[in-house]
């Protein structure tokens, strides 16, 4: 891409939480900003802007990614799932329910990303060991809980 193009908006087509979207965007805008500002899906949070904290985690075609590191041009044709797409109309996901019961959320700012990381972990491994939970969530930082109640939440979600 030459330098002129980054100042020209174009259309990116993708699916967000099951709905088709045509996004009129600068190609190098961060997916995080497009989700939050254009689609008003503010459940995805910015913590560090450099892919360290995981607060901006979303799923792209089933892969968990830091949306602060994804230029929106990359999601052409992709299916994106955000925290707003995890619960159904009337039912929380087992992970969300477990986070409420076990105290997995405190201030809540890392929670959307942490819930997505846990959902992703359980999708790949329905009964992870303690060390698999620890490693599976190591890309998502939490400053409030010391992680213990988050581990308990994941274990509880497995039992559901």
């Amino acid at each position: 891409m030459d330098t002129q193009d980054i100042y020209t908006k174009s259309t990116v087509r993708c699916t967000v939480n099951g709905e088709s979207k045509a996004l009129h965007v600068y190609p190098m805008e961060r997916l995080l900003d497009v989700l939050r500002e254009q689609l008003r899906l503010t459940g995805t949070k910015e913590g560090c802007g450099e892919g360290e904290c995981g607060a901006c985690s979303v799923m792209i075609d089933g892969q968990i990614v830091n949306s602060c590191l994804v230029p929106v041009a990359q999601v052409e044709g992709a299916s994106i799932q955000t925290i707003e797409g995890i619960a159904t109309e009337d039912q929380l996901h087992a992970v969300q329910q477990a986070f409420i019961e076990c105290g997995g959320a405190q201030c809540g700012i890392c929670t959307p990303g942490m819930v997505l990381a846990a959902v992703d972990l359980l999708a790949k491994n329905s009964h992870p060991s303690e060390s698999e939970i620890r490693n599976g969530l190591a890309g998502n930082l939490c400053r409030c809980t010391g992680y213990m109640k988050i581990f308990e939440s994941v274990v509880r979600a497995c039992e559901k």
Binding site: G47, A87, I100, N135, L141, R143
Partner: protein
């Protein structure tokens, strides 16, 4: 109903797990501008000139010119020209300007504010504001400040001094069997809440100023904006949005960012949103005060403490902010949960040209307790006792006095806490096994160790602080019989909304769902004081209890409710009352418990209404190839009065311990000419899920007569014990005594290689 003591799920839990909770950056207003701050690039100097430049023309010609006429620009001069109030952040000494005027005293000090609708263009523009300085000599350490290498603040670089003098230590040294001295240091620590500081402001001469923001203390922001704008209090409104962690980092700093956003909003006439990115939040906002503590301790041959002389110094950075209060708490906690007849504590908060240090969970106590609990292991060794036996001989008991001559009037059982912590951690067996393994002919490269710390933390404001605060909580019933609790105490993750509802529901014998905690908004809720100092549960919770009881008494007095009632009868009575008399409200104001006497001049008397008491045990392994230390197991036993909600309470303790493990082994603020060099999560490392050991939390419950349902404070306690427990364990593993945190592998290598 007995909700207290049960793991009731968090009130706002559903909003948080679904991403529906709205933090300040999630809000948007029509026509809203974004705001940014241009900051000083030098640590100390005079501002010679400010210019608004254009990017140099490049070959491709693609760089845009900056349309400066579209920008709202605010400098210190505007505060005068717009005939606003005072250019200082109202707090204790009012020495910190909102915008530097002529001089700067630290790197990253705010000088110019810019606002524009396009945040990308705004960022370009920020980089093209040039500020010329005449640099002045600066100092960057408390040592240089004490030595007055340069006078940078007042006449002597000193923000505050305290002297606590119990008995006379000078009479004791001659008769001591042992005198043990030591020096201990702690570094800065970043709060690192995952949500950065942020605020949105609407401001104009007609409506006054309204600010939404991430904060712990809405009324601190309120007070600061009254001074900045020179407006009457009813013209300033401050609303707390969902807050993504605080830990003290959103105690005083929000007054700054709220003021900046409001200045831009006032000048532009439009709403202005100001959200820091991580780098700005890390380099420009407050951190934990670095400290240095000197100990001199006299002991007799039976291992009894005879005298303690402690010299405690903290680095406050360039402006006073809350340093005097941080110093006060650090001073009072410096002699720990021990009885010693003669104690002298001298303490000093000094100025340097670092960005101001501020509130951080524990508030000076983690620093002074780190020094004490490392030092006592050294004293025990000198006397020839085990660390635990030495402490057992000196633990404070009911009826004995602390360093400030506060007589402990509650049952305190440090021995019992120690026994339980040792049993749960298998301390003795492990200590023996590690000694055997580490001392064998072919020891592993991984050395294991176990250590502990015993300590206390006072709940609520120090001394007469709560009396001056005069906190008020309200409760209001709706016609449907729902009850809203009105308090300025904020939910920042610790569970305010939930425990207030539990306390209130139990006080009236009604269901949890009937109670809602109002969003803190200075136009709607009374001032229940700041959300700090482990006071929300013990002090404000008690006021919640009496406010809702006041509602019931009003209903009983009106004859609309009988002594024995069902929930439906109570709700109906609320509706009847409102129909007949109008509003049904009740307010409750702080009353100190009896016999609390404090002398602010001499620093003697009842420093805190109650203390939480604790013994923490850390098990570590140290890799002698990489010099990394890892905490393998952690046992935390504490007595905190009655536990209101065991899941939330354990969550507080676990989170505090993780943060303290970070402070001890991972989190190293690297300074370069007064600026944090590693202001990124990439190179300022906080513990991840893979780093934290199993943290095993146990509560002893000894109800406190003046707390709600017997509760005391717990928020800060877990920050105090881990650092000394971990370094005591590392000494057990390696035989080397480290007296400085953070203890990074480089430092460990230096000392251990030197030793070899």
């Amino acid at each position: 109903m007995n909700l207290v003591g049960k793991p009731i799920p968090r009130k706002e839990g559903r909003k948080k797990v679904t991403g529906q909770a709205l933090y300040v950056d999630d809000l948007s207003f029509p026509g809203m501008l974004h705001g940014v701050t241009v900051r000083s690039s030098v640590p100390r100097g005079r501002i010679k000139n400010i210019s608004f430049d254009q990017p140099p023309a490049t070959a491709g010609g693609s760089d845009r010119n900056i349309p400066w006429n579209e920008f709202t620009i605010v400098t210190a001069k505007d505060i005068r020209d717009l005939k606003l109030g005072e250019n200082y952040v109202a707090l204790i000494l009012n020495d910190q300007p909102y915008l530097a005027d002529e001089v700067v005293n630290h790197p990253e000090e705010a000088i110019v504010l810019l606002a524009h609708p396009d945040k990308y263009l705004l960022e370009e523009a920020r980089r093209h504001v040039s500020i010329e300085y005449e640099e002045l000599p600066a100092i960057f350490s408390l040592h240089d400040s004490l030595a007055q290498k340069e006078i940078i603040w007042g006449d002597d670089n000193v923000f505050k001094k305290f002297l606590v003098d119990k008995g006379n230590v000078d009479d004791v040294w001659a008769k001591a069997d042992f005198i043990v001295e030591g020096e201990y240091e702690t570094g800065a620590q970043e709060q690192l809440y995952i949500e950065n500081n942020g605020a949105i402001a609407l401001a104009n001469p007609n409506d006054g100023v309204t600010v939404w923001g991430s904060m712990q203390c809405p009324y601190y922001v309120h007070k600061a904006l009254i001074k900045l704008f020179g407006l009457p209090e009813e013209k300033i409104r401050v609303i707390q949005t969902e807050t993504g962690g605080g830990f003290g980092g959103k105690e005083e700093y929000p007054s700054m960012i709220a003021g900046h956003a409001a200045l831009l909003a006032w000048k532009s006439g439009l709403p202005v949103k100001m959200i820091y990115d991580r780098a700005e939040d890390m380099v420009a906002t407050t951190k934990r005060h670095p400290s240095r503590t000197l100990h001199k301790t006299a002991v007799n041959k039976d291992g009894k403490l005879l005298a303690m002389e402690i010299d405690f110094v903290i680095d406050g950075g360039a402006y006073c902010t809350l340093s005097p209060v941080v110093l006060s708490r650090g001073t009072i906690h410096a002699a720990g949960p021990y009885f010693c007849p003669d104690v002298r504590i001298k303490s000093t908060a000094v100025a340097t040209n670092l960005p101001p240090h501020g509130a951080f969970r524990g508030f000076g106590a983690p620093q002074s307790i780190f020094a004490l609990e490392r030092h006592l292991d050294k004293v025990a060794k000198t006397v020839g006792l085990t660390p635990e036996e030495f402490r057992r001989r000196n633990f404070i008991h009911e009826g004995e006095t602390t360093a400030t001559n506060q007589t402990i009037r509650e049952k305190v059982d440090m021995d019992g806490l120690l026994n339980r912590a040792f049993e749960l951690s298998d301390y003795h067996a492990k200590r023996e096994r590690f000694a055997r393994e580490n001392g064998s002919d072919r020891p592993s490269r991984i050395r294991k160790g176990i250590g502990f710390a015993s300590f206390m933390h006072g709940a609520g404001f120090t001394g007469s602080g709560e009396v001056y605060l005069q906190s008020v909580v309200g409760a209001e019933a709706t016609p449907e019989g729902l009850i809203r609790i009105l308090a300025a105490s904020t939910e920042i993750g610790q569970g305010t909304n939930t425990i207030f509802a539990q306390i209130a529901a139990d006080a009236l014998g009604l269901g949890y769902d009937l109670f809602e905690v109002a969003q803190p908004d200075t136009a709607q809720v009374p001032n229940s004081g700041p959300t700090v100092a482990s006071r929300t549960c013990m002090i404000v919770g008690k006021l919640v209890e009496s406010a809702v009881v006041g509602l019931k008494q009003t209903l009983l007095g009106s004859g609309l409710l009988k002594d024995q009632y069902t929930q439906a009868e109570f709700q109906r009575a609320c509706g009847d009352y409102i129909e007949k008399f109008g509003r049904l409200q009740s307010f409750s104001k702080y009353q100190p418990p009896p016999n609390i006497l404090w002398d602010d001049e001499k620093y003697q008397g009842d420093a805190y209404g109650a203390f939480a008491w604790a013994v923490y045990v850390a098990e570590v392994s140290v890799d002698l190839l990489t010099y990394e230390a890892h905490v393998d197991d952690f046992v935390a036993v504490q007595e905190v009065g009655r536990v209101i909600n065991p899941v939330l309470a354990a969550g507080q303790i676990e989170g505090g311990i993780a943060q303290a493990i970070g402070m001890t082994l991972y989190e190293n603020v690297v300074w370069e000419n007064g600026r944090m060099k590693n202001g990124q999560m990439t190179n300022y490392i906080m513990p991840t899920a893979a780093d934290i050991p199993p943290i095993r939390v146990y509560f002893e419950e000894n109800p406190y007569a003046y707390g709600p349902d017997g509760a005391k404070g717990i928020g800060e306690l877990p920050m105090d014990g881990p650092a000394p427990a971990i370094l005591n364990a590392i000494e057990n593993a390696t035989g080397e005594s480290f007296n400085q945190i953070p203890l990074m592998p480089e430092k460990m290598m230096e000392d251990l290689v030197g030793q070899g």
